[in-house]
Symmetry: C2
Subunit: 192 residues, 2 copies
DNA sequence: CTTAATATTAGTATCAGGTACTAAATACTA
DNA sequence: TAGTATTTAGTACCTGATACTAATATTAAG
């Protein structure tokens, strides 16, 4: 039959997939050493399995993370700002994805929700630089990967360079988070 | 003199640096088009400027972010666990870096601190999967890039599958954060 | 204007890490 | 033992380079 004794080809290819999965920066030459076969065999295997060549793999890793880092770098705002009235209120949305969540439970890690709230709070403040001084907050129910979060921020009070901002996040009208952020704008001696 | 009229070589090389900085995935061939010179000139320029070849650049981007993503992927625990007594208490440390902070102020973004606290709280619980149900917390003073954070977690109470964990984070004995985490272990019907 | 220095272009050989293809040797299996 | 599957071998070719040599432009100075 086909894989009655699960020929070593099958075994090798399975291992090959794993190997390249966890260590994508490996040449065919190195692979043919570790598997004790000729380089042609490795190449046939890659061909059959549809695994691209080393350089292509490197490129993919680079490209993927180049994007990721870019969006992470400008993660001055987490989520998408859809409405804002400076010093008054603002709304942002965030489509949660699998990689924000625990693999097993698909529950979104809390700090993503926190980051969304924090950054929206900062965005509504009409000051170039603000910092979260004190926050007092509640998590309600867990958020699952794929949930679309809607955050609403309201500036409750402004006292000197202190801003009191309330943020509520909900999924389908159901509140999953609320918090009060106290932000401090800092333009004390830092001229510019 | 040397750069009296700032020869076009200088200009080209300056632009070349910028170009490759913002768009590292570009071949010499494309470059010689955009600059209207021969490919050899581009290569001489790269040689003089110490810019590595395309593949090397791709590799660097890939490698850098591969590390980053890996540590981000297994960010099930943020910081380094240095002591733990399951269901009792635990200590972790985290060396903050520039890329956790706002560029201008060097103030560490709140969600990193939150993530550290959250993950330590989870780590001290002797259950495979826990989730933050409700948290009530205070930020004290800002944390600056380079500060070494020490987080201490204590399990205050266990009631059924609910765990009440207090986490305090400090820099040089000075408390910068405290929070109470309510974690829920979920082994309802998910066997294994 | 001529000459020397500088900048640019051309061309060749070589490399890594492959693809694509053909052909031969080995192993397995019915 | 024939027939098929698997593995090796070998060649030509590809891209995006390096390393090197040599020729040609361009520019500046005497």
């Amino acid at each position: 039959m086909l894989s009655d004794k699960k020929g070593r080809k099958q075994i090798r290819q399975t291992k090959l997939l794993e190997k390249i999965e966890i260590e994508p920066f490996v040449t065919d030459e190195e692979l043919c050493d570790t598997f004790g076969v000729s380089i042609q065999t490795i190449r046939l295997d890659r061909l059959e399995l549809g695994i691209p060549e080393l350089r292509e793999r490197i490129k993919q890793v680079a490209a993927k993370n180049y994007r990721k880092v870019k969006t992470l770098g400008k993660a001055e705002i987490v989520g998408e700002l859809i409405d804002i009235n400076l010093n008054e209120d603002g709304i942002s949305i965030l489509e949660t994805t699998e990689d924000m969540a625990f693999r097993k439970t698909k529950i979104v890690r809390g700090h993503h929700i926190f980051a969304m709230a924090e950054s929206l709070a900062m965005a509504v403040i009409d000051a170039d630089v603000a910092l979260s001084g004190v926050a007092n907050m509640k998590y309600r129910v867990p958020v699952f990967a794929g949930d679309k979060l809607v955050a609403k921020a309201e500036v409750a009070r402004i006292r000197g360079n202190k801003y009191f901002v309330h943020v509520k996040i909900s999924v389908n009208q159901e509140q999953v988070f609320r918090g009060k952020f106290i932000l401090v704008s800092i333009w004390e001696e830092e001229e510019e």
